[in-house]
């Protein structure tokens, strides 16, 4: 037995056990509806109603905020709305967008695409809510730095409502789950799929990375690169990565359009099969419900709406009005799911590659591109590595903040977490896809339990903030700053 197989053997039962708890499911016909998915959908729908479809009504205002039209001159040099959004997006746009979508379509059929987009549109409102709270209840530390995220709005926000005990418990549960999520979806899944794609383009099982134990070797290299930033403090790598990710995303979307252009004839059929699949789900296990669940699950995994992670990244923004960052944050699921995930889905459906047996995850996406642009898998692997890397850096930060919260900013705990994080890079790239996806999903979804309980309880606070802010916009107390060319 080689290293990879050994790691796999140890890890699989752990993953299975965690999954069976988090993904407790109800049987509906042939389909299994995990309650946790229902939990996320219900929250997104309720928030959409409660905040009056803010994701559509506030979309234009969100764009103006990101463009800096409301930036106060005295805040020049602080974190702008654009920067907060860009950092959060580079953490969210990861392999969920490339590999996760492929998983959705292999399991849920083309119809899953429709439900994924729906989930993305609804999720915008969950993100609006949690990021408003993230800014509202952030903590300014003694040295002037900012700590924010669900840990803080759960503990401080609920305490302000007289629910301090519940808030403290939820904050701790959230922090524990966030550490799990950062090791799972934010780390292992990324490492796993980055390895899968690199192996694929270097010649598969007969190629450069075909030898036994290659996953572990790849994992060690990746772990060193991650460690260089999070342990070695080499910021320049992180900065270069955050500069490259937006370009890569634009490049990726462009490549998708090229694939569309070469398959113009199949587009009507593809769209047909997406709608058909969404409402009739021919040939998919579990029918419509099966397609719906898969779509929602992959969307949530990709855009993390309701999970609470993004609230950590968004909370550093400079603003006097917490709700402005809520507006900006609602763009995140839009960019991530409604734009990028949809592009991947269309590429897979249009090229028809999802009908082949035995190809899963990122390999499926890669095949879809290869059918039009033969050299694209090589570029895709660069994108995959980059997205994976930036997502890992972002999640290592979320995990470290959760650790800091649990262990009262202990330096030793911080170092321990970061070492474990690097170790999990190796585990992730050595293990096969299924247990990794299972564990990653379970931990990321688990975060949504304490997070959304808190957001529900604090929803009236968000509503009040929103109404106040709208009032100020109406009276002109808050108005666009004269734009400086």
């Amino acid at each position: 037995m080689n290293v990879d197989e050994k790691i796999n053997e140890v890890f699989t039962p752990i993953s299975d056990a965690i999954q069976s708890v988090i993904f407790y499911s109800l049987k509906i016909g042939d389909a299994e509806l995990p309650l946790i998915v229902l939990w996320l959908i219900a929250a997104a729908v309720l928030f959409t109603i409660y905040f009056g479809v803010i994701q559509f009504r506030g979309f234009g205002h969100a764009l103006n905020l990101v463009a800096g039209k409301y930036d106060e001159p005295e805040h020049i040099g602080e974190v702008t709305h654009f920067q907060a959004l860009a950092t959060a997006v580079s953490g969210t746009v990861g392999l969920g967008n490339i590999a996760g979508v492929a998983v959705a379509i292999s399991v849920g059929g083309p119809g899953a695409t429709f439900w994924m987009i729906t989930a993305g549109l609804l999720g915008m409102c969950s993100k609006f809510a949690e990021c408003t709270l993230g800014v509202k209840y952030r903590r300014e530390n003694d040295d002037g730095s900012i700590s924010g995220g669900p840990m803080y709005y759960l503990s401080r926000g609920l305490a302000a409502k007289g629910l301090g005990g519940l808030g403290a418990v939820l904050a701790v549960v959230f922090a524990v789950c966030a550490i799990g999520g950062s090791l799972g979806g934010g780390n292992m899944f990324q490492a796993n799929q980055a390895f899968a794609q690199t192996k694929e383009v270097t010649g598969g099982s007969d190629g450069l990375l075909g030898f036994s134990g290659a996953g572990a070797v790849f994992g060690v290299v990746l772990a060193v690169l991650v460690g260089a930033v999070i342990l070695g403090g080499i910021r320049s790598i992180a900065r270069v990565t955050s500069k490259l990710v937006p370009f890569m995303a634009i490049f990726y979307v462009t490549a998708c359009f090229i694939v569309f252009a070469f398959n113009l004839g199949s587009i009507p059929d593809a769209i047909d099969s997406i709608f058909d699949g969404a409402f009739t789900a021919a040939g998919v296990t579990g029918g419509v419900i099966g397609a719906l669940i898969t779509g929602f699950q992959r969307a949530a995994f990709s855009n993390e709406a309701g999970v609470g992670s993004a609230a950590i990244a968004h909370s550093a923004v400079q603003t006097n009005e917490p709700v402005t960052e809520g507006y900006v944050a609602l763009l995140e699921p839009f960019i991530d799911t409604v734009v990028i995930c949809t592009m991947t889905a269309l590429v897979i459906v249009i090229t028809g590659v999802y009908q082949q047996e035995g190809v899963e995850g990122v390999a499926l996406t890669s095949d879809a591109f290869k059918s039009v642009i033969p050299w694209f898998p090589a570029v895709l692997s660069i994108a995959v590595l980059l997205f994976a890397y930036s997502t890992m850096l972002a999640w290592s930060y979320y995990g470290a903040k959760a650790t800091a919260y649990l262990f009262k900013e202990s330096r030793r705990a911080d170092l321990a977490f970061k070492l474990v994080f690097c170790l999990f890079v190796v585990v992730g790239s050595s293990t096969s896809l299924d247990p990794v996806i299972g564990f990653s999903d379970a931990m990321i979804f688990a975060m949504s339990i304490p997070n959304l309980i808190g957001v529900y309880l604090l929803a009236p606070v968000i509503k009040r903030e929103l109404n106040n802010y709208r009032g100020k916009l109406r009276t002109g107390e808050i108005a666009p700053i004269r734009s400086k060319a």
Partner: protein
């Protein structure tokens, strides 16, 4: 309206020459001087999560350092010859920010040192004096 000169300073030798030039002109014309140091920054620049978290104290430190090490000493050297002078430090795009300051302080002339970029560097990254010449609301003097 009396003349107000604005001089852009950084830690370069060229900017010191610009400051000397301004001092002489201001003394001769009984003009006031604004000494400005711009910390390069863009609202659309790429940042990391850690940088964002620490941005506020970092910004304060950048402003304090800019004032202490660059703007204040330059202003002091001008003040000792009896010219009315004030020092400003601000974040932003250097050329654009100097123009904004010029408008805010009703400046009549802008003075900067020549950066002496090679053609290639200037083509790739531009240079503060050449962009200033294009966008400044007031006459610009570039000191070699």
């Amino acid at each position: 309206m009396s003349a107000v000169f604005l001089v852009g300073v950084d830690s370069s030798a060229a900017s010191s020459r610009a400051a000397v030039f301004v001092t002489e002109r201001a003394r001769a014309e009984r003009a006031a001087v604004v000494v400005a140091h711009v910390v390069p920054w863009s609202p659309f620049g790429a940042t990391t999560t850690e940088e964002n978290e620490r941005r506020h104290p970092t910004r304060e430190a950048e402003l304090a350092r800019g004032k202490r090490d660059i703007a204040a000493p330059a202003a002091e050297a001008i003040r000792v010859v009896g010219v009315d002078v004030q020092a400003v430090v601000r974040h932003g795009h250097p050329a654009q920010t100097l123009c904004d300051l010029a408008e805010e302080h009703e400046v009549t002339q802008l003075v900067v040192g020549r950066t002496g970029e090679t053609r290639l560097r200037a083509a790739l990254f531009g240079s503060v004096p050449s962009s200033l010449v294009q966008i400044s609301p007031v006459p610009v003097t570039v000191v070699p």
